[in-house]
């Protein structure tokens, strides 16, 4: 066993960090709010910068413009991006759709879409959840009806992050309503500018327009946009989710927030300085640091297993549960330290740490919910990992 990075890995981390030093505004604290035009521009600029340096899709095979980087490298990349709260990562295109197209897409689809993802030109969004299909995703009802060269798509998707900025959506639709739930689903690619697509903003509890409801009314989608076999979309669609489920973002965000708290507690300028000699504060921060490091190591264990060709489904679920919970514990404790100031929102007069902790705590209420609730993850751990009966 070895718990250090290789020189090559450390080198890369340094290069990425120094790129972000230049790319991010000097007083950047994040997180980005992509509904703001300035933050969206920052997202696009960073995405282009990452693409130019070959980092955006470095995990991809060389033939698609990647560098075949190791899962460990990819985790270092994701960790550093999240640690700096930097936008521009484009996980929908680079981490989810790209690898799925490589495995299930036609030659035409691969040549048409992979290049633009690699160059950071096209923004993708993910159309999975529906108003009546959350954790029970296989019950989804959005219909795609065969109409010669096209599918006619009608239905609703919801909780769609970045739909308001996206050019394209990869979505799961029901193509055989008479088959068993998992058997009648297909994965298709939809141009968001198609007639009949309507994007309705949903503002989250933190006051951020981060996701949307997307209504499809008789939308024409060429059959050439079907990914994989007809009615075999569940398999392709789940491949996407395997790329989605890792805790590393949360672990990195948690570490960044924890370090902010340590600095805050140590700073002479802090208004509520529960001074560093307060043993309750010291002990609690040490406990949180332990939680964060424990969940971080789980994420690296996942990438280590991936690099050995395993599909560490249960371990990935464990890392997501542990890291998302650790992050919320850090944010909760941040609010506790800030006391009366903890509930001042960003933009408020006299706010401490720019009201960031309050906003982040509300925003990341989504952590244990999205990408498979933590309850669903625990089912996966128990059933796939521990072999318990369904």
């Amino acid at each position: 066993m070895r718990f250090e990075f290789t020189p090559e890995e450390s080198d890369f981390k340094r290069q990425l960090s120094s790129f972000l030093d230049d790319a991010l505004p000097s007083n950047w604290h994040g997180p980005a709010d992509e509904s703001r035009d300035d933050h969206w521009k920052l997202n696009q600029d960073i995405k282009k910068g990452l693409a130019e340096r070959g980092w955006l899709v470095m995990s991809w095979p060389k033939e698609y413009g990647g560098t075949d980087s190791s899962p460990m490298m990819n985790t270092i990349f994701a960790e550093e991006m999240a640690y700096r709260r930097a936008p521009g990562h484009d996980r929908f295109g680079t981490r989810m759709l790209g690898p799925t197209l490589m495995r299930f897409g036609t030659k035409e689809q691969r040549s048409k879409y992979l290049g633009s993802i690699a160059k950071g030109e096209i923004q993708w969004c993910q159309g999975y959840s529906e108003p009546n299909s959350g954790s029970d995703l296989a019950s989804l009802q959005t219909r795609a009806v065969d109409s010669g060269d096209d599918f006619i798509v009608t239905g609703e998707k919801i909780w769609t992050s970045l739909a308001h900025r996206a050019d394209m959506m990869f979505m799961l639709v029901r193509t055989d309503p008479d088959a068993a739930p998992h058997k009648g689903i297909s994965l298709i690619l939809v141009d968001m500018k198609s007639p009949g697509v309507q994007v309705l903003p949903i503002v989250n509890m933190a006051g951020v327009h981060s996701f949307n409801q997307v209504v499809f009314d008789q939308v024409q989608v060429p059959k050439a946009n079907l990914v994989g076999e007809l009615n075999d979309g569940w398999r392709a669609g789940m491949t996407v989710l395997n790329f989605e489920r890792s805790g590393i973002d949360y672990a990195a965000w948690a570490l960044a927030a924890l370090e902010e708290l340590v600095d805050y507690v140590n700073s002479e300028d802090s208004l509520v300085s529960p001074t560093k000699s307060d043993s309750n504060v010291r002990i609690k921060l040490a406990e949180l640091y332990t939680e964060v490091e424990a969940s971080r190591l789980m994420c690296y264990d996942v990438s280590w297993r991936q690099s050995r060709g395993e599909i560490p489904s249960s371990e990935a679920s464990m890392s997501k549960v542990a890291a998302s919970e650790a992050y919320l514990k850090v944010l909760d404790y941040g609010l506790e330290i800030l006391g009366m100031y903890g509930v001042l929102e960003p933009g408020s007069n006299q706010a401490e740490l720019q009201g960031r902790f309050f906003k982040m705590r509300l925003f990341y209420t989504s952590g244990p919910i999205l990408a498979g609730t933590n309850e669903i993850q625990k089912n996966i751990i128990a059933q796939r990992g521990l072999g318990l009966p369904r």
Binding site: E4, V265, S279, A294, W304, E375, I381
Partner: protein, 372 residues
């Protein structure tokens, strides 16, 4: 990062698992808990033949020269089997002796520890149960070239089996000193046996003008504090590795039980309420395992990571006891019985939770290392 075992580590795991599976059975663990010290002696003789006390001792001093990270793999197995043998006590004593001791003492004692002729156990804690090295009060009076030691050390593991105690004392000129004191059948050492939850022999040792030559001083002054801190950190990491193994073992028996026990016509392990208990246990066991190995790997002949060592013991102390209580809940009434082995694990977990510094102790250390 590499979470895989090296060839050496794989060998350690396989052979330890096989040996302990046969020799450190629940009936042996129970016999030792009931005071059968012959069971310890015969088990210890066998592991000495396997070379376990010599693993981390340098080749120069007759050991195998393996790393602390390698040792952690063995410790996991010892924890999983609740093996009632003083590997941790012996290894961390020899580790600190080799790191901080004078040359002559090392070349005298280390080869004998490697062959099992000497069994050394740490004696640090006193009446106030504190792991703060600065609170030691046992007095060592200088008398010519000898030290005369008087006072009481508490919570000394395997003191009945040990030949020597690695003891933190305070000299009459108020300097702390870490000293090797022979205790085997010594007339100036009294053993007070404790009824300890760990199920292994734990005693208090009272020294009545026990005399040792100055050459038995491992470290003195600031050096003694530093050496003792490393001893406690190594002990805490070692307990963490044992607790990781223990936690995994408890998880395994609980998965097996809930997958087979049927109620309402189906295995209770098919209920989400039970599955989520088990998922939480699996996460905790894995986290403690990673932190323990990360911390153990940080130990080298030059030092160790203070942060990683503290994190390992914090997580192990907090999470494995909780894991055991959850296992009882999942077992229902049968896990509440004396006859069932589950409480053997729980008792050991509770004992190790406080050994070499509890979670609060290590949180304070970690906070300091974080700049707080």
């Amino acid at each position: 990062m590499d979470f895989g075992l090296t060839e050496t580590q794989e060998l350690i795991r396989t052979s330890a698992r096989e040996f302990l599976g046969e020799r450190s059975t629940p009936s042996v663990v129970r016999a030792v808990a009931d005071g059968d010290s012959d069971a310890i002696t015969s088990l210890w003789k066998e592991v000495v033949d396997l070379g376990w006390p010599s693993l981390t001792i340098s080749e120069e001093h007759g050991g195998a020269g393996l790393s602390f990270g390698d040792l952690a793999v063995l410790l996991e197995e010892l924890g999983a089997s609740l093996a009632p043998i003083p590997i941790v006590e012996s290894t961390i004593s020899s580790w600190v002796l080799e790191r901080f001791g004078p040359k002559s003492l090392k070349s005298d004692l280390l080869p004998q520890i490697a062959t099992g002729d000497i069994l050394m156990t740490p004696a640090i804690v006193e009446r106030n149960a504190s792991w703060d090295p600065n609170s030691a009060k046992v007095v060592a009076t200088r008398s010519g070239s000898r030290l005369v030691i008087t006072g009481e050390k508490r919570f000394v593991s395997f003191s009945e089996q040990a030949t020597h105690a690695l003891t933190l004392v305070r000299t009459d000129d108020v300097e702390p000193a870490l000293v090797v004191i022979p205790i085997w059948q010594s007339v100036s050492v009294e053993h007070t046996t404790l009824k300890h939850a760990s199920g292994i022999p734990v005693s208090s040792l009272t020294f009545y003008e026990a005399e040792v030559p100055e050459g038995n001083i491992v470290a003195i002054g600031e050096g003694a504090i530093k050496a003792t801190k490393e001893l406690i950190a190594a002990g805490g990491v070692a307990r963490s590795a044992q607790l990781a193994g223990l936690g995994k073992a408890v998880l395994d028996v609980t998965v097996k039980y809930t997958a087979n026990r049927e109620q309402f016509g189906r295995p209770v392990g098919s209920f989400q309420a039970v599955q989520h208990h088990l998922a939480n246990m699996a996460i905790a066991a894995k986290q403690v395992n990673h932190l323990a190995h990360s911390a153990a790997s940080s130990f080298s002949r030059d030092g160790y990571s203070i942060k990683a060592a503290a994190q390992a013991k914090i997580a192990a102390s907090d999470k494995i006891a909780t894991l055991c209580w959850t296992a009882h809940q999942c077992h229902g009434a049968v896990g509440f019985t004396w006859e069932h082995d589950l409480h053997l694990y729980t008792r050991r977990a509770l004992a190790w939770k406080t050994d070499y510094g509890d979670s609060a102790f290590h949180k304070s250390k970690l906070a300091h290392a974080m700049g707080l």
